[in-house]
Symmetry: C2
Subunit: 616 residues, 2 copies
């Protein structure tokens, strides 16, 4: 490995094993999941959880950032017979912000000829779904979403398990079939973002009737960060659970950095092409043109970007609606387009050329993320006329994109107080034909910069419950600066919490398994199992060990919160064991005879308070 190749985090999480399930319709597919084992004394099966972390957590696979990941989808794409390889566009100096010499990030060492649709073909998952075809990607996703719950499905059908939740009209099946996936995609109610030029990606689905997904944002800015840091942030983000990653770079080397990211990303990569277009015109918004933008779309589609955020809803006549706002336009793309429109006193070129943008996207299967350029950036601006005017246009654009077989998701707010969140969901579903919704938070109050992962985690959990399909994370650095690696992890864990809380509340049949397994481990003082089943085993263990660090403490039937005499779970355990063995009356009689239910610590092997000793 050469000195310039970034070091990334590899290796499995504790007690975890990467497993693969094979396809039936498409036997060549191998769908990854993560299996967390618990202590044999528990007598419980391993818990299977969803796993976007890719080969980096598979110790049987040697990863090398210089080589990129295996091109696992390549054969599937070629086998469809509807694409052709071609020479592609040449990299231009402006693609990298005119960086030269030492300031220029090295090119990714391997260059494949890009693919594009043969003339007249639409190579999108939507087109295939409408044609009644179940692609390998669709079956992959179906297996992935089931998490091995085939057995669970049968138990539900036999009436042994109850679905418990409030799904607000969502229709989550007990068991996901490839046909169900095809149908959801055909209806536009879900998307599988999978550019034909990103064959390294492990397919995933974004839709209201599937597990709620999360996105992590990375990318440099003019002020800070580098290719090495950004590639590691991507690997780090997916390690902790990010389902997609957006590269929002706005500094130099945008093209080359993106190559390194996409070639090494097992998850879909999103971008906002407008940023690179702006860099190409030296940061002067007024100098943007459709031609520069179009060229950027092709450049990024050839690289393999899986979805584009496009702020085509920021129309000239909406801009005055923002003048009375407290925080104006807070979307980078939205503000850039607004400036362009006002300067030229013309309709947005994104809006006017939208059909041509569709033609590009359908030739590579780049999904639309229709941008919320007029989202509210403060509580005061929530649900205002500007925001909902743009939403109406996004609804209109959704129909145009669908007519051209393009996959679409709709971006959402922002800053929204709790009582206004549901209205956002209801409107978006109605106006945009049930296209999947993808929100940023929302933040439920403005008063806590430094903690906006929390102010927004509250809103994200709620809007995920109401039907939002993907939640874009917010880190502690929001409003203050570019997030570093630590911030990325905190943002991801926070949004995994929000997404999972939403799945639970929707009654997703696979969700509660993990909560129950962890709670049983907690109740039985299987400390290692509790840590290993949690979203962040290292932090859980380290917090526990701050006050009880010895190995013997992991056998203790208490922690330092309450100590041995006051641990309610230990006391409950005693009560229950007796009740189950002998029945209540007999137990009471035994107590009266003087039986001692307090198990002295020496017997259980647990240390007494601070005089902990290693077990013999």
């Amino acid at each position: 490995m050469n000195a310039l190749t970034p070091a990334v985090s590899t290796g499995p999480l504790p007690a975890s094993r990467k497993i693969h399930k094979s396809g039936v319709l498409h036997p060549q597919i191998r769908v990854p999941m993560r299996e967390i084992s618990v202590h044999p004394t528990a007598g419980e099966p391993p818990v299977i959880v969803y796993d976007p972390s890719g080969p980096y957590t598979d110790p049987t696979v040697e990863t090398s950032i210089e080589n990129g990941l295996a091109r696992l989808r390549h054969e599937w794409i070629i086998a469809r017979g509807d694409v052709e390889a071609y020479d592609g566009r040449h990299v231009q100096p402006e693609d990298n912000g005119f960086a030269v010499g030492e300031r220029l990030t090295p090119e990714f060492p391997i260059r494949n000829r890009p693919l594009r649709a043969k003339a007249g073909k639409a190579v999108t998952q939507l087109a295939y779904a409408r044609a009644g075809i179940i692609t390998p990607e669709m079956e992959f996703v179906a297996i992935r979403e089931n998490l091995g719950r085939e057995n669970l499905g049968r138990e539900i059908l036999r009436g042994k398990l109850q679905r418990d939740g409030e799904a607000f009209g969502a229709a989550i099946p007990d068991f996901v079939t490839p046909e169900f996936v095809r149908d959801e995609v055909a209806r536009g109610r879900a998307i599988i973002p999978a550019n034909i030029n990103h064959p390294e990606s492990e397919p995933m689905i974004i839709g209201r009737n599937f597990l709620v997904k999360i996105n992590a944002n990375i990318g440099n800015s003019a002020v800070t960060s580098s290719m090495a840091e950004e590639v590691e942030k991507m690997v780090w983000a997916i390690r902790w659970g990010a389902d997609t990653v957006m590269d929002l770079s706005t500094g130099r080397n945008i093209h080359n950095i993106r190559d390194w990211i996409v070639r090494n990303a097992p998850v879909p990569i999103g971008t906002v092409p407008l940023y690179q277009a702006l860099e190409k015109v030296n940061g002067i918004a007024e100098d943007l043109t459709w031609e520069v933008y179009r060229d950027t779309l092709v450049e990024q589609a050839e690289q393999g970007v899986d979805y584009f955020t496009i702020h085509a809803g920021v129309r000239l006549h909406y801009i005055p609606l923002t003048v009375g706002r407290v925080t104006g336009i807070v979307s980078r793309g939205g503000s850039i387009m607004a400036k362009w429109c006002l300067h030229h006193h013309r309709e947005s070129f994104l809006y006017e050329h939208f059909a041509e943008i569709c033609d590009i996207c359908r030739a590579y299967d780049v999904s639309f993320s229709l941008g919320d350029g007029l989202r509210p950036g403060s509580i005061a601006d929530a649900n205002d006329a500007a925001q909902f005017a743009e939403l109406e246009t996004l609804g209109e654009l959704t129909q145009i994109a669908w007519a051209k077989d393009c996959q679409v998701m709709i971006e959402g707010p922002g800053h929204v107080p709790m009582h206004k969140i549901k209205e956002n969901m209801d409107k978006q579903l109605a106006v945009c034909g049930e296209a999947p919704c993808y929100t940023l938070g929302p933040l439920t109050t403005d008063i806590a910069p430094g903690y906006d992962h929390i102010t927004s985690g509250i809103g994200a959990a709620m809007i995920g419950w109401f039907g939002t399909a993907m939640l874009c994370y917010v880190t502690p650095k929001e409003h203050l600066g570019l997030p570093d690696r630590n911030d990325v992890k905190i943002g991801v864990i926070t949004y995994k919490i929000a997404a999972h809380a939403a799945d639970l509340a929707k009654g997703h049949p696979a969700a509660k398994t993990r909560d129950d397994a962890l709670s049983r481990a907690r109740f039985e003082f299987r400390w290692e199992d509790q840590f290993n089943l949690s979203l962040d085993p290292e932090t859980a263990r380290s917090f526990h060990d701050q006050t009880l660090p010895k190995e013997a403490h992991k056998l203790a039937h208490f922690c330092s919160m309450c100590g041995p005499k006051f641990c309610s779970m230990r006391i409950s355990h005693d009560i229950r064991a007796e009740a189950q063995k002998e029945g209540m009356a007999a137990m009471a009689a035994k107590y009266r005879e003087g039986g001692d239910l307090y198990v002295p610590a020496e017997e259980s092997g647990a240390p007494l308070m601070s005089e902990a000793q290693e077990p013999s």
Copy 2:
């Protein structure tokens, strides 16, 4: 100051001044608030925020932990003519867990004779309210809750401002009058926890029609912590916004540590008397007796504890309902009482002697916090039969306590998935006669130990919105160990977020002022103002400074997230300034003539990217 006296955090928060408003009905009262000033160029008044931090943040007051705080309510209490001083109970060795010598925490140096009600008198705020009396405490609270919004009230009445929220039947007034407070207390819909032996406390109110409050838990355990750490935790917790503090100590020195805490606490202090009673019988739950417990109630009432958590709803015949649970009984007090009941095969002595407990509480004005001993400790156990059976009993006990003029609040869960949260609120309001609700979270998923401040912050924000009056915080250490000072701060900030998000969603007229002021500061790049108006100015500033540390950067119209070219707020600002000056058409014409709206950094004084220089 002697070497054993704890050092505590003092001094105002940035740009903040302690102000006091005087009473009208009771001119002697001085109600503290915090005034945060913004930069003069903003042309905006200071923002007034609620302030529970006491004299520690008042630079005009010299605090000395050895002397305790000023006994500000003493005269008010004496003036009512219904209490008498008496010799009080002597401290017993068991009160401090038989600690001796160096292990015994020193006694608090000042001992006042405790007060109690004269024979036949009830000295509770509820009794006074029912008698039509507006006490100094009630007026104090009314002024405190208004936060100087008298003017706001008049603007609402003139129709200039709209109330915007969904209060689910709560009735938050535009402007709080002392009579409104009296009426809410008389109805039992709010409580003012204020033991006559805690004259140092600055009165506060807990009720659905007031600002949502938060509690921080402190206290040692057998495993760790000390008096000095616990006193500092109390001062630290209120500095960041805790409205009450519970001392949940379960180790040695419970009595003496509590003295140091209460004498120095400007906020109500709560306890769970059962813990100390258990220590007095050497940790053997079966050896508890009503007599030991009664003695502990008197001991703590004489010290000045403002509210008691009492698990009188854990009845013998409910215990079998917990046997099938995943996590049994997770309440310390609940599990201790369950063990006692089963051993003796008798009804809970708390339940049986409840009327006598009321007689004690009414003689000192100790409020009840009717404990949720059977709260669910896992998603699987949420809203089960055990939990709601106890709630029915709490409803019954509320009526008994009210009949004896005792103030009551009702504790709530726990671990509850989002779709089951509203049911908790609705049931509690119906069953307990609208007595204020006080929940722990609830946690919306079990899978994130290490982040349970977040899993629970989500549920707390929601249940606060639905009507819960006080939210008991959860720290990152929940389930793992005793929280330290850092954990206390993170827990408090998280719960301030939840409480404020709830106030906003309920349409509380005073809430949005702070969000709007901060968002204006953000939009106008008044960085210091944005930090100073936030819940944690130090952290916000430090996060910003990680990538842009120079003083000149605080004038920058960007941060490191986007850099100068991409800052949407800077771009918005340019657009708006032009639109407001000249109108839209004229602006477009000006752009076409070549006017440059990009203000070069040198002119604005903001640094160019990384080449920041100090302003000349």
